[in-house]
């Protein structure tokens, strides 16, 4: 048996000497990871949906009535100079009237409306909806622009939702992380207690902290990774099931959901990383008292 085999053997056998605690630890890891994963996935998908809705969101910049169509068109580069403007689409009075009348085709009261009551206008698409109100003011200040209409409440709403979503996800992930770390370190602490004689003996022989720590890290990492892999499989089926449900439900089908294929790798890597991290640090917390002198 080599040193390496010794670490593995000790790490594994500890898991089975208190199998109930090990089982509990894996279950808690699974629960925490699935909760963390779900919150992150909800938040990523909501963000995506909001991004999409925002990209659809537009402002209307009306041109001064005294401007001719040529003059009005010439304002476009001026508008595009604004950092937050993604695109500006010119709509002439005539076009505006036609599209307006199009909506009321069968209504004769509009028959003699003259297009001069409409104004030339630009449809403004924004890069960042959070800056909507600033951009509105900036564009209104451009010479030749008479007025800019915007639905500020959507921008404000999205910004607030984003902020809450971020705080809640970070808080929940941090909390669950601490919970798993706590459970993990308690389980490994049990092992350190069972093996305290052995620790004292190898210390007296001249083992360094690395040699003493390894079996406990092996135990922690095995528990952490087992939890992570099981959580991944569960998260997979859960996510796929929920996505299918959402996409077949009419009134929420506007949600822009990522397919599991798109998140499979990042999710696997994150779960694995959390499993390893909790395993390593949980065991370090558990043995730190034994490493002094």
């Amino acid at each position: 048996m080599s040193r390496f085999k010794y670490y593995l053997k000790e790490g594994f056998s500890s898991i089975f000497t208190h199998s109930l605690m090990s089982f509990t630890t894996v279950c808690v890891m699974i629960a925490c990871l699935i909760l963390m994963g779900s919150f992150v996935l909800i938040s990523v998908n909501l963000n995506r949906t909001m991004n999409y809705l925002e990209s659809q969101n537009q402002m209307m910049a009306f041109v001064d009535e005294t401007y001719t169509e040529e003059q009005a068109r010439a304002l476009r580069p001026e508008l595009l100079k604004n950092d937050n403007v993604r695109d500006a689409e010119f709509v002439s009075r005539r076009d505006a009237m036609e599209s307006f009348l199009g909506k009321f085709e069968k209504n004769s009261i509009f028959d003699d409306v003259d297009y001069s009551v409409f104004r030339d206008r630009f449809i403004i698409y924004l890069k960042d909806i959070r800056l909507m109100s600033e951009t509105q003011q900036e564009l209104a200040a451009v010479g030749g622009i008479a007025r800019v209409n915007a639905h500020l409440e959507i921008s404000r709403g999205f910004t607030a939702v984003r902020r809450v979503l971020k705080i809640v996800s970070v808080a929940i992930v941090a909390l669950l992380f601490l919970v798993s770390l706590f459970i993990m370190s308690n389980t490994v602490k049990l092992t350190t207690f069972n093996r305290r004689n052995e620790i004292a003996i190898v210390k007296m022989i001249g083992a360094d902290n690395g040699f003493i720590s390894w079996p406990f890290m092996v135990e922690g990492v095995i528990l952490g990774l087992t939890g992570a892999m099981l959580a991944y499989l569960l998260q997979w089926s859960l996510y796929t099931a929920i996505c299918t449900r959402i996409m077949t439900t009419a009134y929420v089908s506007f949600l822009k959901l990522l397919s599991f294929g798109q998140i499979a790798l990042p999710l696997l890597v994150s779960f694995g990383a959390v499993g390893i991290f909790v395993g390593v640090f949980g065991s370090q917390i558990a043995i730190r008292n034994y490493l002094r002198v």
Binding site: I201, I205, G206
Partner: protein, 225 residues
């Protein structure tokens, strides 16, 4: 080499365990450390292994000044010594071979050296055919011999034994002590703590005697309390 130079040790609760203790052991020497219960023998050993540090005075072990040694250097120091205890301190769920190999894994000995060395040290204590036995399948005397083999595994310069015969029947005690003198003759410095007067008197060796934490005698030959 061991050097105690005007060493004082008081425990946290105020007990003064050693007072102005000075003695030196050269490499290759054999000495008994004797004294009544509570006289400070185990305290001397804990100072040597770095479990505790002196309140005053200087302790030097195998070239390390124990007053100044950094915790990170303690493993290095401990690899230069082997320690044997009254209660053997074998690992119950590991067989004889693994108990000794553990000492070599712990210091990172190369894999291929381990089998050979374990065989060799078990041969020295006469247990080469018990490698696969578990500690509880051995007598007290045999367990202590495994502990000696483990102490020898990393070829230390110094072996310290705290009451090695304390849990062994008297007939076996002399045999074990003879074994320690033989190992000493192979070149290992040997400090043996005991309060068994008869046993000490069977060997004409150096006897360091402490009473109430003070040096009360240091000469070759007899232990007369």
């Amino acid at each position: 080499m061991i050097r105690f130079d005007h060493v004082y040790k008081s425990y946290e609760n105020g007990t003064s365990a050693l007072e102005d203790l000075s003695f030196t052991m050269e490499d290759g020497e054999f000495a008994f450390l004797v004294g009544p219960s509570g006289s400070g023998k185990s305290t001397v050993i804990k100072l040597l292994t770095g479990e505790i540090s002196a309140t005053d005075g200087t302790v030097i072990v195998n070239g390390y000044n124990m007053n100044e040694i950094r915790p990170s250097k303690l493993p290095k120091l401990r690899r230069t010594m082997g320690v044997i205890f009254q209660d053997f301190r074998l690992i119950d769920n590991k067989n004889v071979f693994d108990n000794i190999a553990l000492a070599m894994w712990a210091v990172g000995a190369p894999h291929r050296e381990i089998k050979e060395r374990v065989n060799y040290v078990l041969g020295l204590v006469g247990l080469e055919d018990r490698q696969k036995d578990m500690p509880n399948e051995l007598s007290g005397g045999e367990q202590q011999r495994v502990a000696i083999a483990r102490a020898l595994a990393n070829n230390p310069k110094l072996i310290i034994a705290d009451e090695p015969t304390g849990n062994i029947d008297p007939e076996r005690s002399a045999e074990l002590m003879t074994m320690l003198t033989k190992i000493n003759e192979l070149g290992t410095t040997m400090l043996v703590v005991t309060h068994e007067q008869n046993l000490v008197n069977q060997f004409a060796k150096r006897v360091i005697r402490i009473v109430n934490g003070r040096l009360a005698g240091d000469e070759k030959g007899w232990y007369i309390s």
